[in-house]
Symmetry: D2
Subunit: 283 residues, 4 copies
């Protein structure tokens, strides 16, 4: 048995499937729409079971995952979707011991995922111009015990990043193409670059900027998550889904030799495309 | 500057975009189709630049990410796709310090991702019936320095897992629904369960088994990754994509109180579905 | 200039993008939330321009397409989506002169599309058990001038279809697999069969029934329609989309020689699948 | 029984699933890799059954659908995909009696679908600069008996279309935005416009041009077709799919009053977008 301890985050799910996250503290209690739950009735017991309020309503008690935390913590801005956060971690090669820059902080959803991934030996450096956004993100990470792995900067990244030779750098800003010199100054040669932008126009601008600044292995991708109704005898996708969160662009920082290497790659592609488009109306 | 060191994995990309992964060892050399590269010409230099073979052919030198390693290491079986591996890590809440069971090992792609995620303080327990598959996976993880975080079992999971109270458990086997008692004996109450199956028939069978065995928060999802040609002036998706890797099922281990809690949830769904299907021919 | 005539359907789009369809009749008027529009101000003028109500509000006047009609006509049941209706017409080879059976009628969305496609020389035979549904569909098609191309049956198709040697037959019913003998009795040898079902369980049951009853060239498909915000400088997909309308199954009616022909086809597939699933955990 | 007649197109599917289309002619024979089939053994018999070659190999005999013809007729250029052709027909409101312009002809896949849809009382006007492409398309439609419904123009559409007041107009050319004046001169007020382009850059350029030229109800969509392996006990999507054929843009021709009407529509969209992008890093 793995008992819940003071300080642990706990996800309480009401009979009508409302989700709420609380942090356990001896002597406190949760006031729900269906009655009161004492933290002391949770501490020392495992999650995965049901607790009843003083009025007799059943609440399911679960340990929240990083994905749950991203979705249910307090926020002021649009969150990153777990599907994207997960893929960013893997593509940027973020794991224990890595040093990673992120801008902007936003509500701290990706900051949380990055901090959990680099701890206990790595570090996240997060930049945000709006102090109040970052303050909220910092509070969220502090109660989760992750503040120790994060350096918080309220700063315009146009003035440059304060770190050097970081392993990976992620931009979630409106005009990522404007910060290529700053990115190159902070990211180690060969390091992992990533960005998320919502429009195709932004993708085109960023691709151009990346090639101009010697980045290589540029990829553009999007992830679509399709959920199914979990009913064995009538299995079918949900009626609606999120159709778009953003385009994910990844690249590796190269030097001028890498840029030269990339040319023959680009040329045949351009040549092939031209041929295709001259010879045939569409594919 | 972050120099490459002996033992580091290095990804060499040829002028015609063939990818090859080598582990640096002083005095050795790589024989390519375009000539020879001495490991000593890489050690002590950063990645992100181009090295030329003795015949003058340029190779791009990059540090492989976990995603690159999954795709390019030696293997005997179908690999897990990075999009799925990434999402599994996040949904199973796997990060430093967690204890995770996986079955089967296969070629070790997910084992690698799990080991990188739980280190330096957690542990992966991986099960596989076919000794020769696991041996290959173990060699791959050993040269990556990850063997220390993995316990290898050549064992039929029908006979039970050897660990208890693990934080998460993932099944990539043909008939996951047959192992629910074994899963419940190994996974802590409230712990994270996941599985990947290729057919809808398997999904239905697994959903049924999960509900029967008190699992809650059952979700069924699939991830579609769509890549774009990274050409700024002619941005468009690639012509073809992988249409299916598998259905991802996640759930949390509950107890009998959780099962009772889940009933009112299931009932209205069933009732709603029935109404829908009686009233209207389709949605 | 192509002027609107009495009897024409017209789509009126309000300043706040509400769509309304009316049929032109001299002397009548449309009462909108923003004032009155006289039919006589539309008759004799082309569509594609704006008409103002007596209060001065602008309404865009357009001729509705078949897709518009399907979406905006009065209905009691779930409609067929235009993307599916369009593909069904093409896959069932429905065009002028063809004879087609459809069951059930529902609100007549597909009936409308079929009638428009087979006129002026073909015919649609539509079956529905619930008389009041079919009555509504018939009214809709009558005001569109399509009643002449449709035969309406209020009848349980379990008792058989009343036509023979039809070119195509489409089932939009809950248990299509139960009607294979009836389908074979009505559909000409080599004729086109189609069905739409919402769940994977239904797909599996229908596939089995089709093979059992000598159908060949069985395909299962789904169509996903993704809309973009039509803004040139910020092109991006809409945030949400319909994730599922139904699985489309098409097949051709064969005889016992066709069934024998299909066996070697099925065998290698089964063999290949078995090999895959024994050799590798998943794809 | 519906017997095959001289002149009918017939689809022959070999034991190894190779598809071939022939047109029946008394006295002729088909030479296959597995032996000879006499047309006279097909004429007078129904489709949907198996014929054996003189060497005893079984071939399945089916009437080809419009979709089959598009995919299997001789061609020099990329074909239109049936999913797109079907949706274009419905969105452009093409059915018996309509007059439709298409440019370019290409290999005539869409021409075929349009001709089948407008016959016996409508007409297709198709434009192509490359005479040899159009000649092939014309031969294909002639043997299908559809030449009577098509007017063939070898002509640069920059010089204008030769028809006026057509009901619908479709552009499958590289730079559709360059022909807006020509389109407006040929398409009736309120008429249906459509285009297919492969890149997002082209979509943005076309949207801009459409708004500038008073088009309204502009939509941008893409259709994804996902096929499943038709195996009842192991239902699953195919491993790979076509990820992109093109973006479909539809609009209606308006006049200057329509343009004014469209402004308030565009303004709130722009305002909303601006708010979103200022307030939140992404969606």
């Amino acid at each position: 048995m793995t008992p819940l301890r003071p300080g642990d985050p706990v996800m309480l799910i009401s009979p009508d499937r409302k989700v709420r996250i609380v942090f356990l503290e001896p002597g406190r209690q949760v006031e729900t729409h269906h009655g009161v739950i004492a933290h002391d009735d949770l501490i020392g017991h495992p999650a995965g079971r049901v607790i009843t309020t003083h009025k007799g309503y059943p609440y399911l008690v679960l340990e929240p995952s990083t994905a749950d935390l991203i979705q249910h913590l307090k926020r002021r801005t649009q969150i990153i979707f777990p599907k994207d956060a997960a893929y960013i971690l893997l593509r940027l090669n973020v794991h224990a011991g890595k040093r990673v820059i992120e801008a902007g902080t936003g509500s701290g959803g990706l900051t949380l995922a990055l901090a959990r991934a680099v701890q206990p030996t790595g570090r996240v450096y997060t930049y945000e111009e709006r102090a109040e956004h970052q303050a909220l993100a910092r509070r969220n990470l502090t109660i989760l015990g992750l503040d120790a792995y994060v350096t918080w900067h309220v700063r315009d990244i146009g003035e440059g990043f304060l770190e050097q030779e970081v392993d990976a750098l992620f931009l979630d800003v409106r005009t990522p193409w404007e910060y290529m010199p700053q990115v190159k100054a902070a990211l180690k040669l060969g390091g992992f670059f990533g960005a998320l932008v919502p429009t195709t126009n932004q993708v085109s601008q960023l691709i151009d900027a990346l090639y101009t600044h010697d980045f290589v292995n540029v990829t553009v991708e999007e992830l679509l998550l399709r959920a199914y109704k979990p009913v064995a005898a009538r299995l079918r996708p949900e009626d609606r889904m999120i159709a778009h969160t953003g385009y994910l662009i990844f690249a590796r920082r190269g030097d001028e030799t890498a840029r030269a290497w990339a040319q023959p790659h680009l040329r045949p592609v351009a040549a092939r495309r031209q041929a295709e488009e001259e010879g045939i109306p569409h594919e």
